[in-house]
Amino acid sequence: MITAAAMYVAPRLVHLSAVDAAIIIFLIFYFGLVLTIGFYLQRRANTGEDFFMAGREMTAWIAGLSFLSANLGSLELMGWAASAYQYGILATRWYWIGAIPAMLFLGIVMMPFYYISKTHSVPGYLRLRFGESSRALSAISFAFMTVLMSGISMYSMALVMKVVLGWNINFSIWVSSLTVAAYVALGGLRSAIFNEVLQFILIWAGALLIPVLGLVEAGGWSNLKLQIARNASAEYTQPVVDIGIVRQQPDGDSLDWHRVRPGVCDLVWLLDNGFFGGAAGACREGSSLGEAGIDHRRSVQDAGPVHRDPPRPSGAGGAADKADRRDNGGGYRRPQLQRSPAADAGALLWAGAFRLGNHGIDCGLYVRHGGKRERVYDSVDL
């Protein structure tokens, strides 16, 4: 038994005995806690609606925190740190230009369409619009992306465990993935959402200390800027001057795929997040903000008498309303948009393929050291 356990413990890089003990105790407590949440919520997952949609009874702030937490995984914490180290402030374009406007567009314009169609997911919506083939294509492309992206996320997490605790990478991945699978299988979307709220608090509680200590170490905001100006090129702090397609990147390298990538990805994020709910965010664990069980019916009732018609997309304009009035059975009307399945499928593939490529590169597997590309796990001698 001891020999088998020893096989899973690799030589450690950092020796923090007191901290080690605290971390291991907390990890055991944490895994137990998330499983307890799964068991606790198991009794409330009786139907498919309960399991996949959390009974559509989540409040907006819980769904929102869950959505935020879903975007604060190891991929983001490690990947964005590596990306910022590599590209400087240029890395923020992903969110400022790509993600934030796209999410606003998604929430204001697209989400009402998704919601009134009463589907469980974006692929389900595509089936309503274009048929089964579109849904299948969307589901396959999303599943393909998710398998690779989840692998990168779990690998990033396992790298941290490897460096801090010396745990074997496969062991970390198996333990964490089985734990997640268990609590999701037990409680469904409700369990996933409540666990993500818990994770949100822990991530913020842990990560908030980093900028505080970072600023102390750098000597305050002014000294931080001075050090960046002294140690990096001026373009390191320019988020929009170089759009990354034609000119050289801040590190001075010539044009190649890694140089083209940031500019292209602005467009990809816009497409992916804007139209498809950010495939990862919208479909992750079967949830999107609108479909993750936000009780829209309650807000309608609060606003006044209950209407037979579903809430109409306010941002879609009169044309879409008129199109919607082509009733398909007296109940909810299928939104009709004049877009071809081929174009939609192409956009899906495009977004999925680029998301794969970029997450693969930016998940923290690569950093730059003196112009030489190295893998992180080589640089830290794992």
Binding site: S17, F29, L33, I37, L198, I201, L213, E217
Partner: protein
């Protein structure tokens, strides 16, 4: 909420404990800014927050 409260409470307690232990038994290779003992005061904040949550969202008070 009680799960969050418990998590903060245990997390804070463990961080404070490790921090206090390190004050009396300094590590051979301390981390950057070790002299600030961030784990003590940051852990204390988490512990306090967890205590407040535990009291406010105790199951007995929820009816």
């Amino acid at each position: 909420m009680i799960f969050i409260a418990l998590s903060l409470l245990v997390n804070g307690f463990l961080i404070v404990s490790a921090g206090v232990w390190q004050i009396f038994n300094p590590p051979a290779n301390p981390v950057v800014l070790f002299h600030l003992h961030a784990n003590v005061w940051w852990g204390a904040m988490l512990l306090l927050l967890g205590l407040i949550y535990c009291i406010k969202f105790a199951p007995t008070r929820q009816g």
